[in-house]
């Protein structure tokens, strides 16, 4: 008999649940941007509605962590996995809230005429989503180096944010009637920029899980 075989299985299942939550969040990012880009109000409403499921999933995982701590009294690496999960699911839920924020802005914009074709915002969303997926891959494969690399990529999102901000500012300066629409798009950019920041938190937890070191890897520009 292998000692702690069932505990190992529970830990494995716990991490699978984190991946499931992660893919729900990725989907929320994708769909909220699609809704914004394609003026698909139904899809936007769907993202808002689905956020409750994501919140519930997070609570379920938290509950499971508590049960494992109570029943298994984990220490060392086992404990670090569970503590990391408890932190990661908070960031995942918040990223989903940012996606919900984007969806709500899409609803707010409704069928107003577009200010401009959206190019950089979808790029930011795609980058944040990609960083998120890879950060969770790094977590389950205990790859702290990959996690460090992803953190560095936050700069790309910050640069896109700068670019979007400057561009929208120009619109507003040229024609004050665009201020409302441009401001809404700045909110979208802000939600995406924060999402990528949250991914760097997840990466810090990957490093913690692997090395036991708790540290801020790199302060974000924003």
């Amino acid at each position: 008999m292998i000692p702690r075989e069932s505990f190992d299985r529970y830990l494995h299942e716990l991490q699978d649940e984190v991946l499931v939550l992660g893919s729900m969040v990725e989907k929320a990012i994708d769909r909220s941007m699609k809704a914004l880009k394609e003026r698909n109000l139904e899809l936007a409403s769907q993202v808002v509605a689905d956020d409750a499921k994501i919140n519930q999933k997070r609570l379920d995982i938290e509950e499971r962590c508590i049960e494992l701590i109570v029943a298994q009294q984990p220490v060392a690496g086992d404990l670090r996995i569970i503590i990391a999960v408890l932190n990661i699911i908070i960031d995942l839920e918040r990223i989903a809230d940012h996606a919900e924020g984007v969806a709500k802005i899409a609803l707010m914009i409704g069928d107003e005429p577009p200010l401009k074709p959206l190019v950089d915002l979808p790029r930011m969303a795609e980058k944040a989503r990609d960083m998120l997926r890879r950060s969770l891959d790094a977590f389950v494969s205990r790859d702290s180096e990959a996690a460090m690399k992803i953190t560095a990529e936050d700069d790309e999102v910050d640069n896109l944010y700068d670019q979007v901000y400057r561009e929208l500012l120009t619109f507003m300066l040229e024609d004050p009637r665009t201020i409302t629409r441009a401001t809404r798009l700045i909110w979208v950019a802000h939600n995406l920029e924060r999402s990528a920041d949250r991914v760097t938190n997840i990466c810090e937890r990957v490093v913690f899980t692997v090395t036991g070191k708790m540290e801020e890897i790199e302060a974000s520009k924003y």
Binding site: Q73, P74, A76
Partner: protein
């Protein structure tokens, strides 16, 4: 903080079986040090070398040093009774003498020549208070120590140790025969005693080591694998063997 006990390259053999291999370790004064490891890893043997309890086992051999406040307790000039007075011991099974509660505690002081009744009363009361047993037995000092519950008996044994005013208390699995509540009482007591004494505890219960100690040493096959602050050792062990043992992957 100054080390109270230091071992230096401590080797110990039972006949040809090497039970300890070059164990070098500093025990800090007024702290609780826990020793953990699988059965047969040498942790109890190590504990017993500290007050020369192994001397009585025939065909054993020791090399290296055990320094108590800098003095090697294995120097030929050292009086072993004096060592055991300074370094007291509590065992796994509570082992009160088949005598009254009073006599159990007064036994050590009497051996040391204290016979004055008032002095003895004072020592017995103080020791029982320190062992957090006084309130439970103060009206029954004339009763046999054997009528107490297991947890009370263990605290009686601790009072018996305290009565000779030791500096260090060695505890060899002091709670393994006790129920959970009695165990928690002993653990609380250890935290109280820590202020005045240096405590070293051998335990199979890793949660107990994590709860009660300031420092933890992990032994494996006679070797001290890792020794660190308890919080550090249980959250970020440095050695893979420590990690495997405390997470229950072997042992």
């Amino acid at each position: 903080m100054d080390p109270k006990i230091q071992t230096r390259a401590l080797d110990f053999r039972y006949g040809k079986v090497q039970a300890l291999k070059k164990v070098t370790l500093d025990i800090r004064e007024h702290q609780i040090t826990a020793l953990i490891g699988p059965s047969g890893c040498g942790k109890s043997t190590f504990l017993r070398t500290l007050n020369r309890m192994n001397d009585i086992i025939p065909n054993t051999h020791l090399e290296g040093k055990v320094l108590l406040d800098g003095l090697n307790v294995y120097e030929p000039s050292v009086d072993v009774v004096e060592v055991r007075k300074r370094v007291g011991m509590v065992f796994q099974q509570p082992n009160p003498f088949p005598k009254t509660i009073f006599e159990n505690v007064a036994f050590g002081p009497k051996m040391l020549g204290i016979n004055h009744r008032l002095r003895l009363d004072e020592v017995v009361e103080r020791s029982l208070r320190r062992a957090a047993l006084w309130d439970e037995v103060k009206d029954d000092l004339g009763k046999s120590g054997l009528v107490l519950s297991g947890g009370q008996q263990q605290r009686l044994c601790i009072a018996r140790v305290l009565a000779v005013e030791p500096e260090v208390i060695l505890m060899d699995e002091p709670c393994s025969a006790l129920d959970p509540l009695s165990t928690l009482k002993i653990e609380e007591l250890m935290r109280e005693l820590e202020r005045s004494y240096t405590i070293i505890i051998v335990t199979h219960n890793m949660q107990q080591a994590a709860r009660v100690s300031d420092w933890t040493g992990f032994f494996l096959l006679g070797e001290l694998v890792e020794y660190n602050k308890t919080g550090e050792l249980f959250s970020r062990p440095k050695d893979k063997r420590t990690e495997d043992y405390i997470t229950g992957r072997f042992g």
